[in-house]
């Protein structure tokens, strides 16, 4: 008599467990393997029980980490047994040890197919489990029809349907391309959402969710069904679903999955469905307000899971302001919850809410709580979320407070989040700086508090801001000087201070407390404590001092001549010392003054800080959506490249930093594709940017970069070969038809006629604007690719605004001029609907990028934008003024442009009217 207990197996396992050493275990296993080999010899016949036992032993040995090279056949034989236990062991074996030989695979697949087609639901389920466990390509191909049929046929049991759905999901995940689902089944699969059995519905939602991700249009019908199913669950009481009620929450898993499924689609258009969905979400929010039905943690977990998913859906739809506000309030309650996880999730969701215009204000109500969380929270990951949220909720109204709070917190903050906090503070303080002296205060404080965490980009940016803003330069010099007086300053502080004093030290030189000599001594007291890179910078500063304060020239030459510099072991320091010394000796003051002139303003590009922040965290970027500008200028060349440009020897160097279009790296390729698709929607390329891709197809990519000085626009064109072969007989010409010939004068350098594969060539040139113009020039490119002549014609996007120069003026001045330009032909006014979300900063940025100034505080209404610019043509400068009035309720803009020359206002209007 032997039962089903497999005593032999139990004995074997206990033997192994009792082995004292690895060697003993190996010996026992070798013995057993020989025994099993003897049993499995071809000429012996074994009954099912024995086969099962030995296969089990083999499986156990395999799981201990030993190689098994036989016994597959016996395992496959077990599959065709009629006993459940034997079949089960067989399936277990092959799903754990899958033999890669093809014939064996065919055999296994045949066996599985037999079981799938059998009438015994238990066997079908075993087979489905096995398919799901192996889940490889061959299985997907072999059962691409059988399993869906099981899923949709009317007579299969619920349990089988459930397994079939999950099995299909698994195959879809592992090899979605080889799984071909017949489109006739779509409707029936969707209808599984309505299945009586909640288990089937739950499994089906997961499957449909995966299918929807692949082919959203085909499964659009699921939205209505999902909403109705959801509303049935949400509105019923928990007693209605006996088995599927989890701690008083009706079918939480199904709810969560349905809510996720709905996040794949935009809010339903059908008003009835929509109102029903809103009702559901409303009910879920209401339920969260009810007292807990149980003290058990599972109850609250299940309830909150549904709630959070509902909030995610609300955020995703982003159209029901009442729901958004309610969600926000609910999250606000969670912020004070005892559960750390709950607080974490609440902060995370709130970050998303803050990005929505409807709930931004509501989120701001919780500012105090969030700041408290930042200060008192014990879990660092929660604090991190709190920082994210503060960053997301920051706007002009609360920026000062928030930045102060974050700065205060930074002193005690966890090391892991410091660098990110520094970046965020830097970005916020710059973005919302009303007063740039405040910005400088914040930044210097930042460097003082967390100098180690201030990355290069941060202090580069400080300098960029100072250089570009003439009004704060003397203040900057003053506070930099003060900051350097601290007995111990961080090296980054020395860098910033050194740079600023070098440029603007003269602005404070009249103060007896900061005479040139004092400045110089102060800086030099730090010199020997710094790294070589910083010393190089300081040497450049000394050189600038030489220009600013000729009276201390002697001292500086002394320093340069000193052995520690002149014969420094660091090549860079040595070279600088030598060159500067020589320069100071042979040049007369006027030449020196030209060479050591003040740095010109930096071209305004995207702040490198945002780029840096994005690099750090590609996913978490609440405000990222609003920064629509792609990370094109991701090179750090934006910064004041100290090593090259500290001494402004060659202005040309500025224009040549970095290639605009680089085909070499795949990232940049991907990025440029993205940017072209972005611009295909708003056709006017190169309108707001100083660099852009103006043309791209599968063969070639043309990039442009421009910089204007007065009426001359210096242009760099980049032609990139995207193919793997040479492009020959390449020529590119720009034509100025008709009137344009008299308005523009172009001058382009010749270019090479061949472009190597995956390489690019550059063409430089200048365009002079003689008078204002309306049409666009055309560009004509031709080349031979694989001996086929390719010709490309398109409009060269050169707009009038490239020649606009910013004009700054105060309120009186502005309105005086405004009133002066009151002839009918001088004004153009249009009202147009908003095409983009009406965010103040975006508009402001766009107007600035367009070329004219955006003057703050001129108009009585703070929402309005005013500004001025001068169009430089070589015949005459044309002044132009504008006023942009957004109407948020109506989602409309009114733009008024006045210009000193007739007709120009209309042209500018044409360029701008569909850009907001």
């Amino acid at each position: 008599m032997r039962g089903d207990a497999m005593r032999g197996l139990a004995v074997f396992i206990s033997d192994i467990r009792n082995c004292k050493s690895r060697e003993a275990e190996l010996r026992r296993i070798n013995k057993e393997l020989t025994n099993i080999r003897q049993r499995f010899r071809a000429d012996k016949t074994l009954d099912g029980y024995q086969k099962k036992k030995y296969v089990c032993k083999l499986l156990f040995i395999f799981l201990l980490g030993h190689d098994i090279d036989f016994g597959y056949m016996e395992a496959v034989n077990l599959l065709s047994s009629n006993k459940y236990t034997e079949k089960q062991i067989g399936y277990l074996f092959i799903s754990v040890i899958m033999n890669s030989s093809t014939e064996m695979k065919q055999l296994i697949i045949q066996n599985i197919r037999n079981d799938l087609q059998s009438r015994n639901p238990i066997f079908i389920n075993l087979a489905l489990q096995c398919v799901a466990n192996i889940g490889d390509r061959e299985m997907a191909i072999a059962f691409t029809n059988d399993i869906p049929r099981l899923l949709i046929s009317g007579d299969t049991l619920d349990a089988v349907k459930q397994s079939a759905a999950l099995c299909l999901l698994r195959l879809h995940r592992t090899s979605s391309d080889s799984l071909q689902l017949n489109t006739e089944w779509t409707a029936r699969i969707i209808h599984l959402l309505n299945d009586q059995h909640l288990g089937v519905a739950t499994a089906a939602v997961s499957l449909i969710d995966a299918l929807v991700k692949r082919n959203p249009d085909e499964y659009r019908g699921c939205v209505n069904l999902a909403v109705s199913r959801l509303s049935r669950i949400v509105t019923s009481s928990y007693t209605d679903f006996q088995d599927y009620t989890y701690y008083f929450v009706p079918a939480p898993w199904l709810c969560v999955k349905l809510l996720r499924l709905l996040q794949n689609y935009p809010p339903p258009e059908d008003p009835s469905v929509r109102s029903r969905l809103n009702e559901c979400l409303d009910t879920i929010l209401n339920k969260a307000q009810e007292p807990l039905k149980s003290k058990k943690v599972q109850h609250s977990n299940a309830r909150n899971a549904v709630l959070f998913e509902a909030i995610n859906l609300i955020i995703h739809m982003d159209c029901e302001s009442s729901l958004l506000v309610r969600a926000c309030n609910q999250l606000g309650q969670f912020l004070q919850n005892r559960e750390t996880n709950l607080r974490y999730l609440a902060l995370e969701s709130m970050c998303l809410l803050a990005a929505s215009e409807f709930s931004h204000e509501a989120v701001k109500k919780h500012q105090e709580t969030v700041i408290n969380a930042l200060k008192s929270e014990r879990d660092v990951s929660v604090r991190q979320r709190a920082v994210d949220l503060l960053y997301a909720m920051c706007d002009r109204s609360n920026a000062q407070d928030l930045v102060q709070e974050m700065l205060a917190y930074l002193e005690t903050a966890d090391y892991t989040i410091r660098e990110e906090m520094v970046l965020k503070i830097a970005i916020l303080s710059e973005k919302y700086a009303v007063d740039y002296s405040w910005y400088l205060d914040v930044m210097l404080k930042l460097i003082r508090i967390a100098g180690d965490f201030v990355s290069e980009e941060v202090w580069y940016r400080v300098i960029q801001v100072v250089v570009n803003r003439t009004d704060v330069q003397s203040y900057a010099a003053k506070i930099a000087f003060e900051a350097l007086q601290a007995p111990a300053c961080h090296e980054n502080m020395v860098k910033v201070g050194g740079y600023i004093l070098g440029e603007y030290g003269n602005l404070i030189a009249l103060d007896p407390r900061s005479t040139p000599m004092i400045q110089f001594n102060l800086l030099h007291s730090k010199y020997h404590l710094c790294s070589p890179a910083t010393r190089c910078l300081i040497l450049s500063t000394y050189m600038k001092f030489m220009n600013l304060f000729p009276e201390i020239k002697h001292h500086i030459q002394e320093i340069l001549r000193h052995d520690s510099n002149y014969r420094s072991s660091d090549v860079e320091i040595q070279q600088r010392a030598t060159e500067y010394l020589r320069l100071s000796e042979i040049c007369n003051p006027t030449v020196l003054a030209t060479i050591l002139e003040i740095m010109p303003p930096y071209p305004e590009k995207q702040s490198p800080l945002l780029v840096r922040l994005k690099q750090k965290k590609p996913l978490m970027e609440a405000n990222g959506a609003t920064e629509s500008q792609p990370a094109a200028s991701g090179n750090t060349d934006d910064g004041p490249k100290l090593t090259e440009t500290a001494i402004h020897l060659n202005q040309q160097a500025q224009h040549q930093n970095g290639l605009l279009v680089s085909l070499d790296t795949p990232e940049s390729n991907g990025h440029h594709e993205e940017s072209t698709s972005h611009h295909s929607s708003s056709a006017k390329k190169f309108l707001f940017k100083n660099s852009d891709i103006i043309f791209e197809n599968e063969l070639i990519q043309v990039g442009i970069k421009g910089e204007s000085t007065k009426s001359t626009l210096r242009i760099e064109l980049y032609y990139g070969n995207k193919t793997n072969s040479h492009l020959t007989h390449f020529s590119a010409d720009i034509f100025t038809p008709g009137d344009l010939q008299t308005a523009l004068r172009m001058n382009f350098d010749p270019i090479k006629s061949t472009i190597d594969p995956k390489a690019q060539i550059k063409q430089t040139g200048t365009i002079d604007c003689i008078k204002d113009f309306a049409e666009l020039p055309t560009m004509n490119i031709s080349f031979l690719h694989n001996n086929m002549l390719q010709k490309i014609d398109y409009a060269f996007p050169l707009y009038l605004n490239k020649f606009i120069e910013k004009a700054e003026m105060d309120s009186n001045n502005f309105f005086l001029r405004w009133r002066n330009l009151d002839k009918p032909n001088q004004e153009c006014q249009k009202i147009f609907p908003a095409k983009f979300p009406m965010v103040y900063n975006d508009c402001n940025q766009k107007l600035e990028d367009f070329g004219w100034s955006s003057l703050v505080g001129i108009d009585v209404n703070a929402e309005n934008f005013c500004g001025a610019g001068i169009i430089n043509t070589s015949t005459q400068p044309i002044g132009c003024l504008y006023r942009l009035e957004p109407n948020k309720q109506a989602k409309m803009y009114r733009l008024t442009i006045r210009s000193s020359k007739e007709g120009v206002a209309n042209r500018l209007m044409e360029l701008l009217e569909d850009q907001f």
Binding site: K20, R27, K31, T34, R37, F40, D69, F70
Partner: protein
């Protein structure tokens, strides 16, 4: 220098942990356990470096002994120390096992304190240690004993105390050799060497001075030169070995040798004579290694034939190759077979043969075998087809024990002089025994 010594059981639990230097932290104990004892892949190196700390270890039965050092120290010294420590422990409580280590752990700590000082190895002579570290618990030590111990340990002859007295002066000399061989299928010797030890057990009174003579080539040649110089002035008729023709034949070339600390090395260097004052009891007088003119006691002739994918035939012949009057003992031949064996049929003329599935080998044992004899085993092996990897036949190995020294090592004399007590050399009773054992004695099949 050694920073610490740890002893673990087979599960990696620490039984003994003695740290000598501050640079070894507690985490070193765990580091070794995790990285060596519990390692996924068995470590094959005797020295492991983890986080800039070296771990030197050996394993005895189920016990791991591990010495730890942070510095770059002489590894050979550490292993010598570990082996010595094992010897010492064995002489105190016999077999080294978890049980014994646990029962004697106070003793072991005491020993560890004595034989290592701040990581520097100290006197580890069992005899001396036993005079002041005993297992009988704390015993009141008299002043006299204390001074004795101190003078013995610190004196010039640290390995022997004064005032030993035996009724019968006796000494035993064992020459124990292990033969290592690797032979090709065709019977060609690929490499061979003998590692020999001379172990002495002395029960001699007073402070005897001994002189030990062997048939080393250099010594023998020196002697013959001397004797021929003195124109056969010898009066000893027994000493026929002075004939140069016979000496060259029987003399052996020792590649390198090593002596117990009691041997006066200066004398060995200048006169090539081995003279010493022996410690009391058992000790290892010398170690040596030879590689030339080794007489191999056994020859194994394998014959393997693979018949198809599922069958294999193995025939092994063993020939003994020494004087017929001698008898080899404890003969065991281990024939590896493929791992995919499912059944083995065996047939042998002599002794017992068995298929050991747990080791994937056939083990053939014979209790004894006379000289110049021959014996044979044949086996039929059934295999399960396996197309994965080809089996690379491991060599056939053999174990045995024979009553002679395969290197040809001979003890020529051992003279004892005791000046104070004045017992003569002829009064001492001397026993000499030769044992030849197998080391790694392998033949490729």
């Amino acid at each position: 220098m050694i920073g610490g010594v740890f002893i673990y059981n087979h599960k990696g639990e620490v039984l003994i942990s003695r740290v000598y230097r501050d640079d070894i932290g507690r985490n070193a104990v765990d580091a070794f356990r995790v990285n060596v004892i519990h390692a996924r892949q068995q470590s094959r190196f005797p020295v492991v470096n983890i986080a800039r700390t070296s771990f030197f270890y050996t394993k005895r039965s189920n016990i791991w002994l591990c010495a730890v050092a942070k510095q770059n120290i002489n590894a050979a010294m550490v292993f010598e120390f570990l082996n010595k420590m094992i010897d010492v422990m064995q002489s105190y409580f016999g077999k080294i096992s978890e049980e014994n280590v646990k029962n004697n752990f106070v003793l072991i700590y005491e020993l560890l304190d004595e034989i290592l000082d701040f990581g520097y190895p100290q006197n580890s002579d069992t005899g001396v240690l036993k005079s002041f570290i005993t297992q009988q618990g704390v015993r009141p030590v008299t002043r006299e004993e204390q001074t004795n111990v101190t003078s013995a340990v610190t004196g010039q002859i640290g390995w022997r105390r004064e005032g030993i007295k035996y009724r019968r002066n006796e000494l035993f000399l064992d020459v124990i050799e292990s033969v290592n061989l690797l032979m090709s299928q065709q019977g060609q010797v690929l490499s061979t060497h003998v590692a020999g030890r001379v172990v002495m057990k002395s029960y001699l009174s007073g402070m005897p001075e001994c002189k030990f003579g062997i048939n080393d080539k250099i010594t023998v040649e020196n002697r013959t030169k001397n004797t021929t110089d003195s124109t056969n002035a010898t009066t000893n008729p027994n000493n026929g070995a002075t004939n140069p023709a016979t000496t060259t034949k029987t003399a052996i070339a020792i590649d390198d040798c090593q002596f117990h600390q009691c041997v006066k090395l200066s004398k060995f260097e200048s006169e090539h004579s081995i003279s010493f004052i022996p410690p009391d009891g058992e000790f290892e007088l010398m170690r040596y290694r030879t590689t030339k003119d080794i007489s191999l006691p056994f020859r194994v002739i394998p014959l393997v034939r693979e018949i198809g994918r599922t069958k294999m035939e193995v025939k092994v012949v063993v020939k003994s190759n020494f004087k017929p009057t001698l008898i080899g003992q404890k003969i065991e031949i281990r024939i590896p077979i493929p791992p995919n064996t499912c059944d083995v049929q065996l047939l042998c003329m002599k002794g017992k043969a068995k298929h050991k599935a747990s080791d994937n080998a056939i083990v053939w044992k014979m209790k004894r075998m006379g000289g110049m004899k021959e014996s044979q085993l044949s086996a039929e092996i059934e295999l399960t087809p396996n197309d994965k990897k080809k089996w690379n036949r491991p060599p056939i190995s053999m174990n045995f024990e024979v009553p002679f020294a395969p290197s040809g090592f001979k003890v020529r004399y051992l003279k004892v002089f005791e000046h104070k007590l004045n017992y003569s050399d002829s009064e001492t009773i001397k026993w000499v025994r030769y044992i030849g054992k197998s080391g790694l004695y392998e033949t490729r099949s």
